[in-house]
């Protein structure tokens, strides 16, 4: 059960590492373009046999 001292220490260290990583990531401008990844997948380039040109709207 003495293991718990090591584990608590290790967990706090790990949590701190994640916290620092989070702040570094947000400050380093990762959040400049938050739009593209979400909408990129909505545009499919599916072709029906009748269609020649590329469509950039998904069909319901």
């Amino acid at each position: 059960m003495n293991m718990i001292y090591l584990l608590i220490g290790f967990s706090i260290l790990l949590a701190l590492i994640f916290l620092i990583a989070f702040f570094w990531a947000s400050r380093s401008g990762q959040n400049d373009d938050l739009y593209t990844p979400a909408v990129r997948m909505l545009f499919d380039d599916e072709l029906t046999p009748e269609q020649e040109e590329k469509s950039d709207e998904d069909h319901a």
Binding site: M1, Q30, D33, P37, R40, E46
Partner: protein
């Protein structure tokens, strides 16, 4: 400049049909076993259809056959379109599909025959385990091959979840299948007792995490935006909850072993991480539900969106309830009861089931180039399915609380109020009936869906190869602006992503398992604990074969209510020779860890022959064949030497004398039975299982 190619829809159609067929099969078996609990005659007097043998058939069918095929359907559909590339290899797709169905059929045949490892959701014996590994590798090559030849540079969030699923299931399956075979369909785990329990539940919980959750989150991230024609709510949130989910989930496994002989520090770790898990899980739910911002009017009109909304909400419910159940105080009441079964099914019927149905209703008309046959029938399915979930879960909540609290109740004089376990079972039988009604309603919905989709497929024509066109990737890619940032960089690097995910998911398991395996003080040795005799070992294997562990636990928790009812609480050192462990996870019947010596041999004989004669009102099925079947002692030799190689200290050369000792012990029991007017030959299976039951828990003497 653009390349023309085709998406493979045939493989998607194949997986979709398999999903529907196995869904009906798996849920029908589920309905049958639910009914067996209040109508024991539905065990049908045959060893092949007893609850203990076919409950694992239900669990494996709904998890690997229904959900499994649904995952592949969803992944094969979405992966191609997100990457703007056809699957890497049509041959591999074909092998993957038929290989997976073969695994399912092999499981369906072997489980009722009693070929089982006893590890929950991994009961398939070693040849099938090898098959699973091979097909999973085929899946991986096909998936990563497609990712590598993609025309869309950045991997969408759904693909991160597919990658994490692939790598983690591979690790889980391999570690939880390290078995020493002793014959074509029998093996022993290399782990024993406490360590085996830890491996099993690290696996079991992470099967939930990485087979039932992460692939479905991936599918949610693809299909929901498509259905609602709305972008996902938050890219930032998807990054945050993805990495935290896959990191935290792994640690939660031991919450299935609270108050058992698992070392306390592992239990506590799992509780803490289980509670932390609420955040990333709800991150997924929030991202899903808020995607519907501005589109809620569509939910009103579209049954598919209704399925998605209720499904995601059920996910939120289950991922709140789970962490609550992981609190030790709550777990003390809930563990071994039907509350856990209710919790499982809120997630399974709500999240997995409903998302699968929503996706099927959206996807089938599309690949058949037609409209859904009947929106009304789909709506009916939604409502009857929702009703089914409610009738399933609510009665079982009642059953769980009622039984859990009855087990714990003392009279003012200080003795158990319900000393007869059977009384607590009879109390909840009406709840079992309502639960079966819930399941029947749910299954009805699935059958209605099947009709609807068959009509749809008949009205349309499969677009087996769907034409598509996209630019190939540029030879040189120069990242601009946000593309230079860390996570966006990672989204372009599938192999690095795979390795990082692997590292992240390995951490929890290593921290929890390595000290348990290597630091001896975690499982204090008890000198009076000795290996099983050859006869008891054979009996133990019969216990495993019949699936007794599905209804009976062998782990007495350190509560006064349990020590009064069952005897001294279980110590880790008592299980060191148990390959595999048999702690169980449900008490449909009483705990058996200290069964040894409680009843005479004659009682056990009569009880196994027909439980109702010894316990009127019992729902346990009869085991008449144990009296007719001869014990197969040709395996004794290989079992003893296998156990020795796994570390059980049988003396050298013991296997040559093992059958002699076995016969002597068997004759002793037969003679004792004869004294009680029971005539049975000493070479029958029932003698072996009586020997095993009489040994249980007798190695230590309580004060």
């Amino acid at each position: 400049m653009t390349e023309k190619f085709h998406y493979d829809n045939k493989i998607v159609r194949n997986f979709a049909i398999a999903t529907i067929i196995w869904g009906i099969v798996g849920m029908t078996v589920g309905l049958l076993i639910a009914m067996q609990l209040f109508t024991p005659s539905l065990n049908m007097g045959s060893q092949y259809t007893t609850f203990g043998r076919i409950r694992p058939l239900h669990t494996n069918a709904v998890i690997f056959a229904f959900v499994g095929n649904a995952i592949f359907m969803g992944v094969y559909y979405s992966l191609q379109r997100l990457l703007k590339a056809r699957m890497f290899s049509d041959v591999l797709s074909y092998i993957h599909f038929w290989g997976w169905q073969l695994i399912i059929v092999a499981t369906a045949i072997t489980l009722p025959l009693g070929f089982t490892t006893s590890h929950e959701y991994a009961e398939m014996e070693w040849p099938i385990d090898i098959g699973i590994t091979l097909i999973w590798v085929v899946f991986g090559i096909n998936m990563f091959g497609t990712i590598i030849k993609r025309r869309e540079k950045h991997m969408y969030v759904a693909i991160w979840f597919y990658i994490a699923t692939f790598v983690t299931v591979a690790v889980l399956h391999i570690v939880n299948s390290i078995e020493l075979p002793i014959s074509a369909f029998k093996s022993y785990y290399v782990y024993a007792g406490v360590q085996d329990a830890l491996v099993q539940w690290w696996y079991g919980h992470n099967a939930v995490a990485f087979f039932l959750t992460t692939p479905y989150l991936g599918m949610m991230y693809y299909f929901l935006p498509k259905m609602a024609e709305r972008p996902v709510y938050s890219y930032k949130l998807s990054i945050l909850h993805f990495w935290s989910l896959i990191f935290i989930y792994i640690w939660a496994g031991p919450h299935h072993l609270l108050y058992t002989s698992l070392p306390g520090w592992v239990q506590s770790l799992s509780v803490v991480f289980s509670v932390m898990l609420i955040a990333p899980s709800w991150g997924g739910m929030i991202n899903g539900l808020l995607t519907l911002r501005g589109a809620w009017d569509k939910v009103r009109e579209d049954p598919r969106l209704k399925f998605m909304v209720v499904g995601i909400t059920a996910y939120g419910m289950a991922t709140f309830e789970g962490p609550m159940l992981a609190f030790k105080q709550i777990n003390a009441i809930a563990h071994y009861t039907d509350w856990i079964v209710a919790h499982v099914h809120v997630g399974a019927l709500g999240w997995n089931g409903f998302l699968t149905f929503g996706i099927l209703y959206w996807l089938i008309p599309r690949i058949y180039s037609t409209e859904l046959y009947s929106k009304k029938l789909a709506s009916f399915h939604f409502w009857i399915g929702t009703l089914g979930i409610i009738f399933y879960a609510v009665p079982l909540y009642f059953a769980g609380f009622t039984q859990g609290l009855m087990w714990k109740e003392f009279t003012p004089e200080g003795v158990l109020r319900y000393p007869n376990f059977l009384e607590t079972v009879i109390q909840i039988i009406p709840m079992y009936m309502l639960r079966a009604l819930g399941g029947a309603l749910y299954l009805t919905g699935v059958i209605v869906m099947t009709y609807n989709l068959i009509k749809t497929m008949k009205a349309g024509k499969l677009v087996a190869n769907e034409a598509a066109e996209a630019q190939p990737l540029p030879a040189v890619y120069v990242p601009q602006g946000s593309d230079k940032k860390v996570h966006r960089f990672l989204e372009r690097k599938p192999m690095l992503f795979l390795v990082l995910s692997l590292i992240v998911i390995l951490i929890g398991g290593m921290v929890e398992m390595m000290p348990t395996f290597t630091i001896k003080s975690n499982i204090p040795t008890i000198s009076s604990v000795k290996p099983y005799t050859p006869l008891e070992l054979q009996g133990r294997d019969i216990y495993i074969r019949e699936g007794c562990v599905n209804c009976h636990s062998q782990m007495i928790r350190p509560f006064r209510s349990e020590t009064e009812r069952y005897g001294e609480y279980s110590k880790g050192g008592e299980f060191v020779y148990d390959h595999p462990f048999l702690w169980g996870s449900k008490r449909t019947g009483p705990d058996l860890q200290r069964e040894g010596g409680k009843y005479g041999n004659a009682w056990h004989y009569n009880h196994l022959y027909d439980p109702q004669t010894m316990s009127p009102g019992s729902i346990m099925p009869p085991y008449e064949w144990l009296i007719n079947q001869q014990l197969d002692t040709t395996t004794t030799r290989s079992k003893i030497s296998a156990m020795r190689s796994l570390g059980v200290p049988y003396p050298e050369g013991f296997e040559s004398k093992a059958n002699t000792k076995l016969d002597a012990q068997a004759k002793g029991i037969a003679a004792d039975l004869k004294q009680n007017n029971i005539k049975v030959k000493s070479d029958r299976e029932i003698i072996a299982i009586i020997a095993y039951l009489q040994r249980l828990g007798t190695d230590i003497k309580a004060k």
